[in-house]
């Protein structure tokens, strides 16, 4: 199996992996990075989103060969309880979830949006999150949380 090198949450990684294996399998199965969740395996629900550059992408159908040399950020790389990302703080403030299974992917989509567009409108936030499904109906709280984080980031 070839060794595939990439950056994960700022750290260099070298993983012996089948090039056709998915990034999500490597993250969850090999590296114990369980923030990104399996939802559908077809890139349709967003629960497995990771950030590459300033784009949120599904990791459940992303082959490892395409990850070589990439800079990958998962929810674990956004922030910690001690040093939270403004989005993580805002999701707590707005109590922006019910079950929370989709949240890791939604935080990543939102973080990628704020990288591209630090002061999005509500409509732009919704469009950016359209590839993420939430079954509990917490959408509006999440949109409010993203807008709150954006204004907090603009103020600092």
């Amino acid at each position: 199996m070839p060794t595939i090198q990439f950056q994960l949450n700022g750290a260099a990684m070298a993983v012996d992996a089948d090039p056709d294996q998915t990034l999500l399998e490597v993250l969850r199965g090999r590296l114990g990075v369980t923030g990104p969740h399996f939802g559908c395996g077809a890139g349709e629900c967003g629960a497995c989103h990771v950030m590459i550059g300033d784009r949120a992408m599904a990791s459940c159908d992303m082959p490892m060969w395409s990850v070589a040399g990439k800079d990958v950020v998962t929810i674990e790389g956004l922030g910690t309880a001690e040093q939270p990302h403004p989005l993580q703080r805002a999701f707590i403030s707005e109590q922006a979830m019910q079950c929370g299974y989709c949240v890791a992917g939604i935080l990543i989509s939102a973080a990628a949006l704020l990288k591209r567009n630090p002061s999005p409108t509500e409509a732009e936030v919704r469009t950016a999150l359209d590839r993420n499904l939430c079954r509990c109906g917490s959408h509006n709280r999440m949109v409010r949380a993203v807008l709150r984080a954006a204004s907090e980031m603009a103020a600092t």
Binding site: G79, Q88, Q95
Partner: protein, 708 residues
Amino acid sequence: MTLPAPSLPVSLLANPRLSSWVRFTGDSRVAISPGKVEIGQGIVTALAQIAADELDVEIGRIEMIRASTAASPNEGVTSGSLSIQQSGRALRHACAEVRQRFLVAASERLGVDASLLDVDDGVISGPGNVRTSYWELAGDVSLDHDATAGVTAKTAATRAVAGHSVQRVDIPDKVFARPRFIHDYALPGLLHGRVLRPNVSGARLIALDEAMARALPVFVAIARDGGFAGVVADSEMAAEAALKTLRKGATWSEGEPLPDEDDLAGFLKSQPVETTVIDTRTAASTTKAARTLRRQYTRPYIAHASIAPSCAMARWEGDRVQVWTHSQGVYLLRADLAIVLRLPAENIVVEHMEGAGCYGHNAADDVALDAVLLAKAAGGRPVRVQWSRHDEMSHAPFGAAMAIEIAADLDADNEIVGWRHAIWSNGHAARPGRAAQPALLAATEIANPYPRMISTNPPAANGGGGDRNSVPLYDFPAWTIISHRLLTMPVRTSALRTLGAQGNVFAIESLLDEIAVLRNEDPVAFRLRHLRDERAKDVIRAAAQRAQWKPEKRTGIGYGVGFARYKNTGAYCAAIAEIEGSDDIRVRRLTLAVDVGEAINPDGVINQIEGGAIQATSWVLKERVRFDRTRIASTSWTDYPILTFSEVPAVDVEIIQRPESEPVGAGEAAHGPIAAAIANAVHDCLGVRVRDLPITRDKIIAAMELAS
């Protein structure tokens, strides 16, 4: 007059031992152990609030213990919006009694009358600066006593935590990706399992060539029991590869035909049924009926469609098995496992771990049996089994399709003088642990299979099933309500959020709207005129006021109202929908008012109502399980679309706080009223009635063609 003897809350009556609910632990913490489970509804936080209040401890000291058959009180199933009513009341009472027992012990130790003692964050103090604490006294005060009736909990005015929007205790873990979901929990030596299931509905595995799968390099084991087969491997990828190979060697029976998805009413009304008269009311004298309006409403099968595929873990040790599950009822699941495994229940420990929101009886219980069966082939190592998205969307039970006919007799002034409501539907419950036969999918596949359990309906005293919310809350002079439960079940159904209430409220409230329009009467005023219950009227008035009912008519915009009291005994909810439409519609805003009695966590209630309103909108506009005559066809998010962020309406919720009234659940209050409010807004906007859900572009066009 004699007062009735004080009685214990139902969950405490069933589990009276105080120590099974409350324990003081060595690190100055309090372990609270409810029998209800977290399914994303925030129950664990609300119960912690109740305990913190009655014990007078900071909520941060409370550790909420996950339900397990090893130690937890048996509270049946976490369903029916009953957790606050059942677990909340039990904990409130148990904690009040625990507090009282400690005050008695503190009084003895401190030599101060108990009535002069005060508790502040677990520290008990009294005049003369004497003090002790729950933890100092814990050795002296045994909680291995049964709860007694007659303990008085705090009054509403003296509660400091319940009634306030405390932040949920589980959210930080989820935001910082600390493993909390069963999918993320790594037991040492964990193996991964996958189960082979047919694509054709009702097909049975009749032959399996295992040679190709056994030849795979990473293979661990194949488990086989009659028509049940699956693989165990040391990684998920290997398990999936093995399953794919195994599938190539499978031979299936023909399966069982499915109904015509485009004629659900025809199918439902042509099956053998069990008929129950749910309620009748006979008027002493009514004006004569001048005409009868007959309308038929349908709703399709609806998928739970959890965002996570169902998942479970199991580990055998000799003839004992430990199971981790996101089931809504650990004891009920254990009962079914005991039947299938032919083991005494005490050989099985079932422990809850969080999964994604389930919205009723999804595949959580099924996958637990899958894990138990696959773990038999794992040599004592734990196995985690996770379903595919495909199987989650096709093999889990669905919410039952319904056909509802209402005939309303109207007098010469179009006032309602008679009302006949008939329901045709499969049963709405086939949960495990309630019958002599198991309800779990793999139980129908193994070598000595059990028949597929035909869904039944809970009794009216528990809110009913297909008939839930079919008895009008309105004061019509006469009515007959009949439920026809199907005795065949080609499409597997079980409990989905609200059971039959969504369909029945949609039907009742749609027809009421039609009659109000016929009378040229405002639909809000029409409802208020037919209600006697002031709490019902209050939520309707509050929603109407908040939505500024009824705004001036504008082209392309419509408004509709819907109301129900969930189960006729739970939360009151009124909804007003604002939609925009031509031949396609968009829901712009939903305004709701809700009365859940005492709202333990007001933001939690709003979250549940908001979520319910959005999910209900998704059901009404988009959702329908698709199938042809041989297989379920909606097996992906492409084939079973749900509402997206851009399609979600603004949702505005007002809570009418009634701290003196018993708290009731909020999770299922919005679905019926929202369905009706949207349908009524469609009529207001476009002048057509769509009586078959979901309200899609095609249905609107068909209704317009019919009207023209």
